[in-house]
């Protein structure tokens, strides 16, 4: 077991998979000479050369499409978006091309591609650079969507994504890159579609993913001091969602809070709540509560940004509310 940053865990995954399979290449803005806008691809150009670590012009739609074409004829591209905010320009390729190709060709052309990069807010980047897109992407049949919250999951899910023969979206976090955690030695591959119970408790389930896993764990630590013990269900994969992990936890605790980074309407939490009401209606002791970003574009000012983001305090307040504890 080694302690690695989330960034280095991703870097290891890329390096190991590129060593393993010559068809794997990395393409995106600043991935090669600059070593990655967030240094995730550090050292890869030197090891694998410029045919396999490819700097692109600033042209998200274009290079996402290049990836789709290369994948259709047998390569295994990893397309890095400097952030998912910029990937909006490429959504035609992600949604209309990558996700549909297998279906509309009647099963003839699969697209083994990874689209990855940081998702959601960092600090004071304001409206255009602070958006969490998981609900948009998870809406699309033909895609898989993963959102690792720890270094071990970052490594394991990225490796699984690269080996998958379908298009896989990997949602990372700028605020996660420097976080540290234990990563098992040797081969680490986390199966896509499997949640993990990151913490066990009996009073309430917090169901979350990605960057919000850290928030949930911090909230759980604080609540433990007051004797409130919660399950933290880390979905890890948003699509396909591990419904059994959600229902298993809620049947045990009878209460749930769904914590997500994005906006409320049609968010991931809405879907989780639907699974819970369908499968666990008779198990619930309280309505499920959702914690999410305020329904506004992200503001710049520190105090407003703080007010807009889901955080530990809001999560604790939600847990107390479903437990009918006055705070």
């Amino acid at each position: 077991m080694a302690v690695l940053t989330y960034r280095d865990a991703l870097n290891q995954a890329l390096r190991e998979e590129m060593q393993r399979d010559d068809r794997v290449f990395l393409m995106g803005e600043e991935v090669a000479v600059y070593q990655g806008a967030y240094k995730v691809s550090k050292g890869l150009l030197q090891e694998f050369g410029e045919m396999r670590v490819v700097d692109t012009p600033i042209t998200e739609l274009g290079f996402a499409g290049v990836g789709v074409g290369a994948a259709m004829v047998g390569l295994r591209p990893i397309i890095e978006f400097m952030t998912w905010n910029f990937a909006l320009l490429a959504l035609d390729q992600v949604v209309n091309a990558a996700a549909k190709m297998l279906y509309m060709s009647g099963g003839q052309y699969n697209v083994p591609i990874v689209f990855r990069g940081p998702n959601g807010a960092a600090l004071q980047l304001s409206a255009q650079h602070s958006q969490a897109w998981e609900s948009w992407l998870a809406h699309i049949p033909g895609l898989k969507v993963v959102a690792p919250g720890t270094p071990a999951d970052a490594k394991g899910l990225l490796k699984a994504a690269i080996r998958d023969d379908n298009p896989v979206i990997v949602l990372e976090g700028e605020m996660l890159y420097n976080t540290k955690g234990d990563v098992p030695d040797g081969e680490v591959v986390v199966p896509i579609g499997q949640a993990e119970l990151k913490r066990e408790g009996e009073h309430c389930s917090i169901i979350t993913s990605g960057k919000m896993v850290l928030v949930a764990m911090q909230a759980a630590d604080q609540m433990a001091k007051d004797g409130i013990r919660v399950d933290v269900v880390d979905l890890r994969t948003i699509r396909p969602m591990d419904v059994a992990a959600i229902t298993g936890s809620v049947r045990k605790t009878n209460r749930a809070v769904v914590l997500e980074e994005g906006w409320e309407l049609c968010g991931i939490g809405a879907q989780v709540v639907d699974y819970v009401q369908r499968e666990c209606f008779d198990d619930l002791d309280a309505p499920v509560i959702r914690v999410h970003q305020a329904d506004v574009p992200m503001p710049y000012a520190k105090n407003l940004e703080r007010a807009a983001k889901p955080d530990v305090a809001k999560t604790i307040a939600a847990v107390k509310k479903v437990m009918y504890i006055d705070s």
Partner: protein, 344 residues
């Protein structure tokens, strides 16, 4: 027809006959397509290619089996010219299980992996970066194939076109971008959509070899694509060709033939340069074919198209279980091991 050895020499009567056969097949096939649409056997969007057959036949008759083709939603003619069986193309239009895309794609999404025919695509310009990616993969593997990408002239005003051509030239990729300039993006004339009318000149922005070609002359198309393919194979340089043609039918089945955006007189003027008629006249004046030969060929092709219709009509609808098939594959590179990649 598609995999005939490149030969641009005039006087090759057998080759000329094959070109005529290819173009006539597309014409007769689509005439029946219109009929089937009117009868409700074909639904959705359906864009006919009639008038542009010299572009598909000319381009694809000089390519190799291992080259790659990608195109737009106006894809029936190119699919047939590449060698997709008329039966499977018609079955796809009819939405049947024997369709070339198993009834999942329809008119706009014809695919055949065995022929490296990577689809008709429905978003204007969206497939052009994909073509650049296919050419990238060719270079990545050190191959000498080419990727030929058809597009309409309206796509050149779209960002995807510029992004794709810039990267193809920047990275020296073996791509051939063939603009089928039929003068209208749906109902908008090129003069009303593009700031320049000689759109092949747009390649100048990317330092890319370019040319303008008479799209009603199958030999002119063959020459231009042949040169572009040679350049792509030997020098790994992409080419942009503007092939000037005309569609004799409306944009789609809901659009009248001349419509509000072009005059009957203009259409009649272009009909004088019907590519099939031009080729036939050339062959007749060279003594390569008689009226009787043409009539026989026509009957033969009509029978092939009737057979395709009958086949499609008899083919079952896709089973309901197939609704959920082909959303995802359930394999990984582990499960596949060292499989040969497509096109190898």
């Amino acid at each position: 027809m598609a995999r005939k050895k490149p030969d641009t020499s005039a006087g090759d009567a057998e080759l000329h006959r094959e070109l005529l056969r290819s173009m006539l097949l597309q014409r007769r096939f689509e005439e029946r397509t219109a009929e089937a649409y009117a009868l409700g056997k074909i639904g959705g969007f359906c864009h006919l290619y009639i008038g542009q057959e010299a572009v598909s036949t000319g381009s694809l008759s000089v390519l190799r089996d291992d080259d790659y083709i990608i195109t737009t939603y106006r894809d029936h003619g190119q699919a047939l010219a590449r060698g997709l069986a008329p039966r499977n193309v018609m079955a796809e239009l009819f939405g049947r299980v024997d369709g070339c895309s198993r009834g999942k794609g329809g008119s706009m999404h014809l695919f055949d992996r065995n022929l490296n025919f990577l689809g008709g695509h429905g978003i204007v310009g969206g497939h052009i970066p994909i073509a650049t990616g296919i050419a990238f993969a060719i270079k990545y593997r050190g191959g000498d194939q080419v990727c030929l990408c058809f597009m309409g002239e309206a796509a050149v005003n779209n960002g995807a076109f510029h992004e794709a051509l810039n990267m193809a030239s920047l990275w020296k990729l073996p791509a051939i971008f063939v603009i089928e300039n039929n003068r209208y993006g749906m109902g908008t004339a090129i003069e009303r959509a593009s700031s320049i009318n000689d759109i092949y000149e747009r390649a100048g922005s990317y330092d890319m070899p370019r040319g303008v070609v008479d799209g009603q002359d199958v030999f002119a198309v063959r020459r231009a694509v042949s040169e572009a393919a040679e350049r792509a194979r030997t020098e790994q340089v992409p080419t942009l060709l503007e092939v000037r043609t005309y569609r004799f039918m409306g944009h789609s089945m809901s659009d009248a033939v001349s419509g509000t955006y072009r005059t009957k007189a203009e259409l009649e003027e272009y009909l004088k340069r019907d590519p099939i008629m031009l080729l036939r006249t050339k062959m007749q004046s060279a003594g390569e074919i008689t009226d009787d030969d043409v009539a026989r060929l026509d009957e033969e092709i009509k029978a092939i198209v009737q057979d395709a219709w009958d086949f499609a009509d008899a083919s079952p609808e896709p089973p309901l279980e197939s609704l959920y098939e082909h959303v995802l594959v359930d394999t990984t590179s582990d499960a596949l091991g060292e499989v040969a990649v497509a096109g190898d």
